[in-house]
């Protein structure tokens, strides 16, 4: 795990291998402050944004933007209404959507006068294997988003649905379809 943070609390027995326990500890003690919550959920936010944007540099920028928003809105965070992880993912989703809207506006403006710049292409980092990286590139952002929340961050359907602003059953349906598409892309390559 990276460097730079010295968690002020919840250190004993908490490692990256047990993120759920760490999250529980943090969400149960909101008074521990913004710093410890940022440390605990930085990877979650980054991974989520990496899946949504499929671009590491954009995910970097949006992660920073998410935590800046979180710092500004820290006083509105109420742990009784949801965990810090859920709150940060909601903020991250808002930041990503704002980014996509701005990108769409920029492209429309450019289309009027010149050949549009395609912007940042989907360039997933090298940590992904070639099969998975190629398969994820072909999925839509909505598919990658639900996979990130349910599979990578291991959120339950209710929490993921809350972040996506849809019902839990709709969330499950969306996940199943996304996974079907992912498997369709992955299976032939694995067989080959």
């Amino acid at each position: 795990m990276g460097t730079g943070f010295v968690p002020t609390s919840c250190q004993s027995g908490v490692t990256r291998a047990a993120p759920a326990a760490y999250t529980e500890c943090v969400s149960d003690a909101p008074a521990q402050g913004f710093r410890s919550i940022a440390e605990a959920h930085l990877d979650d936010v980054y991974r989520y944004l990496l899946y949504v944007t499929a671009n590491p540099s954009t995910a970097d920028d949006l992660t920073s933007e998410t935590f800046e928003r979180a710092l500004r809105r820290w006083s509105s965070f109420d742990p009784r209404r949801g965990s810090a992880q859920t709150w940060l993912c909601q903020l991250a989703r808002g930041a990503a959507l704002d980014h996509f809207r701005a990108e769409a506006r920029r492209r429309r403006r450019e289309e009027r006068v010149a050949e549009p710049d395609r912007g940042a292409e989907h360039e997933l980092p090298d940590e992904y294997g070639p099969v998975l990286r190629q398969a994820l590139r072909t999925l839509s952002g909505a598919d990658r988003e639900v996979i990130a929340l349910r599979i990578v961050l291991e959120l339950d359907a209710k929490t993921a649905a809350r972040i996506l602003n849809i019902s839990p059953s709709a969330c499950t349906t969306r996940l199943n379809r996304a996974l079907e598409r992912l498997e369709e892309k992955v299976r032939p390559r694995l067989v080959a």
């Binding site: 930085l42 899946y51 944007t53 809105r73 940590e127 992904y128 909505a142 996974l179």
Partner: protein, 312 residues
Amino acid sequence: MSPDLSNALRAETPTAPDALRHRIALIASEPPTPRRVLPLRRVLMVAAPAAAAASLVAAVAVGVKAGVEHQPSREAVANELAPKAPSGGLPIPRSAVRTVAPDAFAPAVAAPARKRAQDVRTSITLLVDDTDDLSATTQRALRITRSLGGYVQTVNFGSETAEGTAALQVRIPVSRVQAAVVRFSGLGRILAQQTQITDLQQRLDELTRQIRRAGDPRIRAALRRERIELHRRAAYATLSLDLTTHEPQQQAAPPSRIDRAVNDATGVLTGELAVIAYALIVASPFLVLLAAAYAGRRAYRRYSDLRLLERA
């Protein structure tokens, strides 16, 4: 989904790079923005009970104040309980009407002035035992009238199986009206009594002066006829005697101070609720439109978000 794919997704997804970690550490080292405004929900949670409590306190205050201010005086109670003037009668000068409270009912009539012409009208309501007694009492009243030198103007007698009423209007010489009231009062239990005395002397004196001044014999004759009529009115008192077998229901006791306060407070609260209901009725179409616009905007936003992510 195969477990291998799940594991691969989790294992191959990278964590945040160190540069980003440092950047976030810098952001997190800043003090969080303090809360500047109260959230709407918290404001409502305080404001709604406060408004309800304020309206309740206002209602109680109004009720207590009104309860103290509306405490009726003894005179007002007596006026309320006093018999009303007969319908169609002359307007009654306040000073000329003698009202007797029910608990002090006794045969009494103001003595007419001997040297002035006056129009004396008295009404008495008496309770008798039953219809047999009603008939006998009516007969006795007629005899008393004649014995006092008076005469009967109208008699209205009616009885059913258990209940009955009789209304007599008699004229008694003014000089004997007090005796008449006393004797009539002995015929039953007095429920109500009222005496009205109107001075006629002033009009008589005026007529006398006009007759002296009048040159035309026809006008003088007309004035004389009017003066004679006034003398007749002044010579006899009109006495209305109402006999009934129906005992009037006991008047409800005036509400206590606490009852009045509670009633007034309830009235204020009802008024407040009516205002709120009225406001809601007036505002409801706009609220429905606002809610529909809000729901539509949310749905559109959700749809556009999904489209954005699908294109991403």
